[in-house]
């Protein structure tokens, strides 16, 4: 399982774009990159998943360079409610034998007014 490294914390202001980068140097060919968001005392919530290049949905964008050894979660125009912990995960979603999801410590994003 590829290990991920993220900044421990980040601060931002409302209305700014926030980019959180995750390093995963040992990512395997079949691995996908997934990001989750977690608020205190709640379960993590899926944000976005990708394999290569760029993926965009209604809440975020995920940028993955050609070597796939890192990825960047981009949150456009954050608000106070985006204050949460963000986790980057790498794993083989096609593993028919089951999969282990390994969470790191995550990045604590604090959005200020």
């Amino acid at each position: 399982l590829a290990k991920t490294t993220q900044p421990i914390s980040m601060d931002s202001y409302e209305g700014q774009e926030v980019n959180i980068t995750c390093s995963h140097n040992n990512i395997a060919t079949n691995d996908y990159i997934t990001w989750y968001q977690q608020f205190p005392s709640q379960g993590p919530r899926f944000i976005i998943q990708g394999y290569k290049t760029k993926v965009t949905n209604e809440v975020a964008s995920l940028f993955i360079p050609a070597d796939r050894k890192s990825s960047t979660l981009s949150l456009p125009r954050v608000s106070l409610s985006d204050t949460a912990v963000y986790y980057c995960l790498v794993g083989d979603a096609l593993n028919t034998g089951g999969f282990k999801t390994i969470f790191g410590a995550g990045t604590r994003l604090f959005v200020k007014a």
């Binding site: 996908y32 899926f46 998943q49 912990v85 096609l94 089951g98 999969f99 969470f103 410590a105 995550g106």
Partner: protein, 114 residues
């Protein structure tokens, strides 16, 4: 769709006791995973159930066991509770399709061991 539900929401036990936590997956999901999350840390994978069998396991002792029922719901059992077992226990359900796997997490069960 009720999403993933877990019961109970909170539980207080004493050392040495046994506990059973329950999880109902999101409608249509057939895979259930359990996680332990200590305060200030990321969730730690305990195990995963599919077709009523444990098919992946994290680094947890045999005191942690589980079960999945034909309706895909699942139980997590912890025997001989230790103080260190105090944590938020999360259940997540998923359905693998077309290389895309999104896990839906429940709200968790807060276990306190005294």
């Amino acid at each position: 769709d009720a999403g993933v539900t877990q019961s109970p929401t909170h539980l207080i036990k004493t050392r040495g006791q046994q506990v059973t936590l329950r999880c109902s997956p999101k409608s249509g999901h057939d895979t259930v995973s359990w996680y332990q999350q200590a305060l200030g840390q990321g969730p730690q994978f305990i195990f995963q159930y599919y077709e009523e069998e444990e098919r992946q396991r994290g680094n947890f002792p045999d005191r942690f066991s589980g079960h999945q029922f034909p309706n895909y719901s699942s139980e997590l059992n912890v025997n001989a509770l230790l103080l260190g077992d105090s944590a938020l226990y999360l259940c997540a359900s998923s359905l693998v399709r077309d290389g895309f796997n999104e896990q839906f997490f429940g709200p968790g069960t807060r276990l306190t061991v005294l």
